[in-house]
């Protein structure tokens, strides 16, 4: 990248700097903070205190590239935010579907906008749905409409979406393992509105891989993996505008993993998933263009930016070299940033506004495609109207006021940023090799290796906080005794009664014969699915049967009951 003369000068300057730096360290010795002479990233990667041209001389300039050019280190497209801002995608969901709709309409009114003025709705289901239950199940009490919307049927979809133009909007369905019923009910609702599956735009999470590090009951990993592959097959054939899979990197960092764990695990899962898709008969270029990522933006400002640049480079090179991907869209890492919730504090909650603003700025400098910015009160409850609007404003201020959208990948060429990007890529590849040596991601999910790795990382992080090496303002430094006095959001207590009544009414009024025959067929296909190999996936019959059941007003609890019986369902600690 540099000629010999430049490198020689660079080394000379570097040595001179180091001498001066050491002298300063010696002089201020005791007063200097820990690690003044051996800094590291939050992931534990060693850093220098200043970078020079010779620190990046080993990097092939082709691996840095140009915005929109392979290997896309500097961004997916030649234009970053010049023609189109990132999409605002706040997570929305609480109470009854009509309560969630109120918040959707409020945020749309306040300027929440997707690509080129399109509407994006990033909607999260409630705890009852996540568990694959209906609101009249004994375990639903207290959980209905909590942390998400009480949507369990095609009829609830109508309450949520009536009056909106389904063809002109994107709906991201944030489900955990109830992916099949959620999408089936949306398709069934679309059919009632005269909208066909190929016209629907949006996202399924297809998040079975996250049971490796997220503590919720789940399908056994291999069965979940098959469900993911099958959905990709179904959507590839029937829903060309639908994004099939979201890589839940965010959850890795939230669970205590490092930035390297986050991108390494996602790459390892990507390899396993594409391998299984290919086994099922798809080409890499069929499946890959509809994958997306949810990535965390946490506290180590530069590491979090370099993480994203490294992930883009690794994904493109891996998908091309291993699977022969040719379509640029197959090599793009489309990122929905979720600013880190785990780095927010309950102490001095308004300080969270400052943290989330920095996270947002970092994500903007990384060139991500969409953002959810956490609200300052999320360490307590679902955001209020005020806090949700403020979180949107953080995005808008950075988008509209700072002029950082003028230039793509503004940090490119920084000796530090390029060196760290390269270092992170190497560290993530090591993790991938370690997982591949165990038989791939799903095998390491099954054995509990991934959980153990993330958990040990969480413990290390906690030790650093407890010992004061990792500072958290308001928590282990600058703490005050003043209790946080903020107004918290509460879900209307009537929600439970109404949701239970509705599901009972639905069961009483639906065409019982049609429901029974659709559910019988779905159950038969699910039983058969349990014994299938990857090579036998892809005929789409499971999803088709689910859509028929949803059209017959089958509920989330009923459909998930079938899948749990057929495929197994276990508490997370049993893996």
């Amino acid at each position: 990248m540099f000629d010999e003369a430049t490198l020689a000068r660079s080394r000379e300057m570097g040595e001179a700097w180091e001498t001066r730096y050491r002298r300063l360290v010696e002089r201020f010795g005791d007063a200097a903070p820990e690690r003044a002479t051996d800094p590291e990233t939050h992931s534990g990667l060693p850093l220098k205190s200043a970078y020079f041209p010779h620190d990046i001389a080993h990097i092939d300039p082709g691996l840095i590239g140009a915005p929109g050019g392979y290997p896309f280190t500097r961004g997916n497209l030649a234009a970053q935010y010049q023609l189109m801002h990132w999409a605002n995608q706040p997570v929305i969901g609480y109470g009854l579907p009509e309560h969630t709709r109120e918040r959707m309409d409020l945020l749309a009114e306040e300027g929440m906008v997707g690509y080129f003025g399109q509407r994006f709705y990033n909607l999260v289901y409630d705890l009852v749905s996540h568990e694959g239950l209906d609101p009249d199940h004994p375990a639903a009490r207290g959980r209905i409409g909590q942390s998400g919307m009480a949507v369990y049927s095609k009829a609830d979809m109508a309450r949520l979406f009536d009056g909106l133009d389904l063809k002109a909007m994107n709906v991201i369905h944030i489900s955990y393992y109830q992916v099949v019923p959620a999408l089936a009910q949306y398709i069934a609702y679309g059919a009632d509105r005269g909208v066909s599956p190929e016209e629907l735009r949006g996202n399924s999470m297809n998040w079975y891989h996250q049971s490796a590090y997220v503590g919720m009951s789940a399908f056994p990993p291999a069965q979940g993996h098959k469900l993911a592959v099958d959905l990709i097959n179904y959507c590839t054939r029937n829903m060309p505008r639908w994004n099939t899979t979201n890589f839940f990197g965010y959850g890795v960092e939230e669970a205590g993993g490092t930035a390297i764990h986050e991108i390494g695990l996602m790459l390892a899962y990507g390899i396993d998933l594409v391998r299984a898709c290919v086994a099922s008969g798809l080409k890499a270029d069929d499946a890959l263009p509809r994958f997306g990522f949810q990535i965390s933006q946490a506290n180590d400002f530069f590491e979090e930016i370099c993480k994203i640049r490294a992930l883009r480079r690794l994904w493109a090179t891996t998908m091309q070299e291993r699977f022969g991907a040719e379509d640029p869209r197959s090599m793009h890492v489309r990122i929905h940033t979720h600013t880190s919730g785990a780095s927010l504090t309950a102490q001095q909650p308004l300080v969270n506004l400052i943290r989330t603003t920095l996270h947002t700025l970092g994500a903007a400098m990384s060139g991500v495609q969409a953002m959810e910015v956490s609200a300052y009160d999320e360490a307590f409850a679902i955001p209020t109207e005020e806090s949700a609007t403020l979180a949107l404003r953080a995005q808008q201020v950075i988008q509209e006021e700072t002029n950082i959208t003028a230039v793509s990948d503004p940090l490119a060429g920084s000796y530090y940023v390029e060196a760290l990007t390269d270092q992170m890529a190497a560290a993530a590849l090591e993790l991938v090799d370690e997982i591949e040596a165990q038989g791939g991601y799903v095998a390491a999910q099954q054995s509990g290796w991934i959980r153990k790795t993330v958990e040990s990382s969480a413990e290390r992080w906690q030790e650093l906080v407890d010992s004061g090496q990792r500072r958290i303002v308001g928590r282990n430094t600058y703490a005050t005794d003043a209790p946080a006095e903020i107004e918290l959001f509460k879900v209307d207590p009537e929600v439970e009664r109404v949701a239970v009544e509705r599901v009972r009414e639905l069961r009483a009024s639906r065409d019982a014969a049609r429901w029974e025959s659709a559910m019988d067929r779905f159950a038969g296909i699910a039983t058969d699915f349990a014994d299938r190999s990857y090579e036998e996936l892809g005929d789409g019959v499971l999803m088709e049967a689910a859509v028929e059941a949803a059209k017959a007003d089958a509920t989330t609890g009923e459909m998930m009951g079938v899948l749990k019986d057929a495929l197994g369902w276990r508490a997370p600690h049993e893996y």
Partner: protein, 139 residues
């Protein structure tokens, strides 16, 4: 304060439980590790219904039950838990809680009999101190 066990009496048995739908298990898993390091016998479990926690408490003969909740929906769990413990003659089991529990609920839960609620900012040592102070400092 030291969290090392200081005598050879039978270790205190603690059941830590988390609702299956609540993905925020980073904290409770860490607490489980720290309590083990401090010499307690720790059983960690996920549950759908509070009855499962009661069954586990009976079966494992625990002196402490800790419920972790960070996603809401905890109030009915504690109602059912206390009823179940009482029915099974375990009314004297020490019940503690942790996670994200709104201040309004904290006041109610204390009245119901939750001895301590370890919210954000608490440490595993806080829980260890409380358990030892209630159940014997030398175990």
């Amino acid at each position: 304060m030291s969290t090392e066990p200081t005598a050879s009496a039978d270790p205190i048995r603690v059941l830590l439980a988390k609702p299956t739908h609540d993905c925020h298990d980073r904290g409770v898993r860490l607490v489980a590790r720290r309590l083990r390091e401090a010499g307690f016998e720790v059983i960690f479990s996920n549950f759908l219904l509070a009855a499962e926690v009661v069954d586990a408490a009976v079966e494992e003969d625990v002196q402490v039950v800790g419920i972790s909740s960070s996603a809401g929906g905890h109030m009915p769990v504690f109602e059912d838990l206390f009823a179940g413990l009482e029915e099974n003659g375990l009314a004297d089991v020490l019940v503690i809680a942790g996670g994200v529990i709104p201040p309004d609920d904290v006041a109610v839960l204390r009245k119901k009999g939750v001895t301590e609620i370890f919210g954000p900012g608490s440490t595993a040592d806080d829980a260890i101190r409380l358990i030892r102070s209630r159940l014997g400092a030398n175990r």
